[in-house]
């Protein structure tokens, strides 16, 4: 990939102070984001996928801060930003976010039209009332809300879950951000609505030439939307590659475990493979590969030294000692090698 990344995070470390102790939520995490692509970040809750992306737009909770690394964007290092004033040049204008639950991310006491106007006037400096209204109605129309003039004057409770999520998207993209971060945008929605929202984000992405980051734990959604996938575990990206490479040729044992736990690969009446144990406690210093204690095939070195990234292909790398030429020969599990055939066989 000769393309220049539009956003480049390097060795980012994020800590939270909780009850007098320091929790390291993100441990030297690096990520390049390329223009126009859709990147999906997957991992279980607590793996840091939300925290990591929230740090791109200064939305960490008050007790958390970036203590190391750089986030290069548009000639600036976002990791150095501290004041709201600095963040306001980025948040909403350049990088915007859609949250999981449309019930809680809208203001229940404010008409939806006004909430969209707020975003437009704050970020584009448009102050004239009728011009604002026209722009807000245009946005409602753009996100596929029928009868936008009437809807403009309604409150969030008058909208269904799917329509509400469309309003949230309208607010997020009202200022034509360059990067849109979608944090579990469809988790609270029904499957039929989910498919519509994913299509909406896709069409807005090509119309407004946005780069999109999806945060999700649903591998079906990942397969639908992603060009590239990053797998996160215990505050680090452990594997990153093109979507086909992650689904058909994964190498990190945690990615294997995630794929194997899919009910689609299960045999009826038999147990699904599970990931035993729990993620490490991030209050403690982690030694070696963070996933090693849960990995039945862990190597001795996994408990001693943290693995570096090894290239699988020019676009695909994984942070596991399995790929070291000195490691004993480890084969991908059968179910990973045959995932493609298994899915086809289900009709």
């Amino acid at each position: 990939m000769a393309k220049e990344p539009i956003l480049s995070a390097k060795d980012v470390v994020i800590q939270f102070s909780l009850r007098g102790k320091m929790l390291t939520a993100i441990r030297k995490c690096s990520l390049d984001l390329y223009e126009g692509e859709t990147l999906a970040i997957v991992g279980e809750s607590g793996s840091g996928k939300s925290v990591f992306t929230k740090s791109f737009l200064g939305m960490l909770d008050a007790n958390g801060k970036i203590v190391g690394g750089t986030i290069e964007y548009d000639g600036h290092d976002l990791a150095k930003y501290t004041t709201e004033k600095e963040w306001m040049t980025i948040r909403g204008k350049k990088i915007s976010m859609v949250m999981q639950d449309p019930m809680t991310s809208l203001n229940p006491l404010k008409k939806v039209g006004k909430q969209i106007e707020e975003s437009i006037s704050l970020n584009q400096g448009v102050k004239k009332g009728d011009q604002l209204k026209k722009m807000a109605i245009e946005m409602l129309e753009k996100v596929g809300i029928p009868d936008p003039e009437r809807r403009y004057n309604q409150y969030p409770h008058e909208f269904s879950g799917g329509m509400r999520q469309r309003v949230v998207i309208a607010i997020a993209v009202a200022c034509h951000p360059q990067i849109l971060i979608c944090d579990e945008p469809t988790t609270a929605l029904d499957v039929t609505i989910q498919a519509q929202i994913l299509n909406l984000i896709r069409s807005l992405q090509s119309e407004l030439k946005m780069t999109v980051i999806y945060i999700t734990h649903d591998l079906g959604v990942v397969a639908n939307v992603a060009d590239r996938v990053a797998v996160m575990y215990a505050g680090q990206i452990v594997e990153v590659g093109n979507v086909d490479e992650i689904f058909y040729d994964a190498w990190h044992p945690y990615t294997w475990a995630l794929l194997q736990a899919l009910p689609q690969l299960g045999v009826k009446g038999e147990d699904l493979p599970t990931i035993d144990g729990t993620p490490p406690n991030l209050f403690n210093q982690i030694k070696g590969d963070a996933f090693a204690p849960r990995n039945k095939q862990a190597l001795a070195i996994d408990f001693e030294e943290e693995p570096p990234f090894f290239d699988v292909s020019p676009t695909h790398k994984a942070k596991t000692w399995y790929l070291d030429p000195r490691a004993p020969k480890i084969e991908q599990p059968h179910s990973i090698r045959t995932l493609r055939e298994k899915m086809r066989g289900r009709g």
């Binding site: 989910q194 079906g220 899915m343």
Partner: protein
């Protein structure tokens, strides 16, 4: 098939909320049986009435028409006190959100044995303690956990506490209402395995209510698809996925994301349009179109479905 014992029979069930001008029919014309030992799933979007049916079986929601039978005895409407107690014991529920369904201020010991305490189903304190210990072990928790509070546990462990609370009543029938929706992927598999194992060891029968169709396909023997309070199709799990007939079922299945980028990016999304049904003259019926495969439709539609089945052969 015909020899199997029916544990639950639901006949022309209707459930309404409110009255007069505000009357709302949540569930209507619902008919199905649940056989002993099977996992029967109800799928549909939110607001379709799937939870309402589950709650009607456990006597939480009153029934406005039709009836529900448990082992051949009517358990809907007014019933004798002894039968009511039997239903409480034999029909238990597992809830969706383990964060919200456990009493934050009670210890696990009390939470798990609450049902026993309410109905004096234990001999003495030792007996109760033993029962709690047994239930906790059965769901893979340590007996020491009894003295802790719910907030000390992870989501998966809390859901196990919720399951232990149901198990301690020694139920025969369990309504599992979205038991894994709030859980992480890796923990989801553990809870599914636990439910499956308990079904075998305890001879349990499940009514599984869910909206995640890939999970439903994995765990169910039979599936009923519900849309706006009506069951539109019912069949064995694999048959329903391979040969769906009703247009709503087809649309629903087409929307399920497949974790395979090649298939997922090329799939065709179907949209359900309820106006395709013209029920003005030719009214719809609940018809067993193939053995064990039911569908809701009028004569003209049923004919179309029959042709579809023939051409698929």
């Amino acid at each position: 098939m015909a020899e199997r014992e029916k544990l639950i029979e639901i006949k022309d069930l209707q459930i309404t909320f409110g009255s007069g001008k505000h009357k709302f029919v949540a569930v209507d014309h619902v008919n199905f049986d649940i056989y002993k030992g099977e996992t029967f799933s109800l799928v549909g979007e939110s607001g379709s009435g799937k939870t309402t049916i589950g709650r009607a079986i456990t006597r939480i929601n009153p029934v406005s028409a039709g009836e529900i039978l448990f082992k051949g005895r009517r358990i809907s409407g007014k019933i004798p006190k002894e039968l009511d107690l039997e239903v409480i014991k034999k029909c238990q529920m597992i809830f969706q959100d383990p964060m919200a369904s456990l009493n934050e201020r009670a210890k696990v010991d009390y939470i798990v044995s609450e049902g026993l305490i309410n109905h004096h189903l234990y001999k003495d304190e030792d007996d109760r303690k033993q029962k709690v210990e047994k239930a906790l072990r059965e769901v893979g928790l340590l007996p020491e956990f009894a003295s802790r509070f719910p907030h000390e546990f992870s989501g998966g462990q809390r859901q196990r506490i919720g399951i232990a609370r149901a198990l301690i009543m020694e139920p025969e029938f369990v309504v599992a209402d979205e038991p894994i929706s709030a859980l992480d992927v890796s923990i989801r598999a553990q809870v599914l395995n636990l439910l499956n194992r308990l079904r075998k060891s305890r001879g349990l029968t499940y009514l599984f209510i869910a909206h995640d169709l890939s999970v439903v396909r994995f765990i169910s023997d039979r599936i009923a698809v519900i849309h706006k309070g009506r069951i539109v199709e019912l069949a064995e799990a694999e048959k329903l996925f391979l040969h769906p007939l009703h247009p709503y079922t087809k649309a629903l299945l087409s929307a399920v994301p497949i974790p395979d980028p090649e298939l997922e990016k090329n799939k065709k999304l179907l949209v359900y349009d309820p106006s395709v049904h013209d029920y003005s003259k030719d009214g719809p019926v609940w018809e067993e179109i193939l053995p064990g495969h039911f569908v809701w439709g009028n004569q003209k539609e049923l004919e179309g479905y029959r042709k579809e089945i023939d051409s698929a052969k």
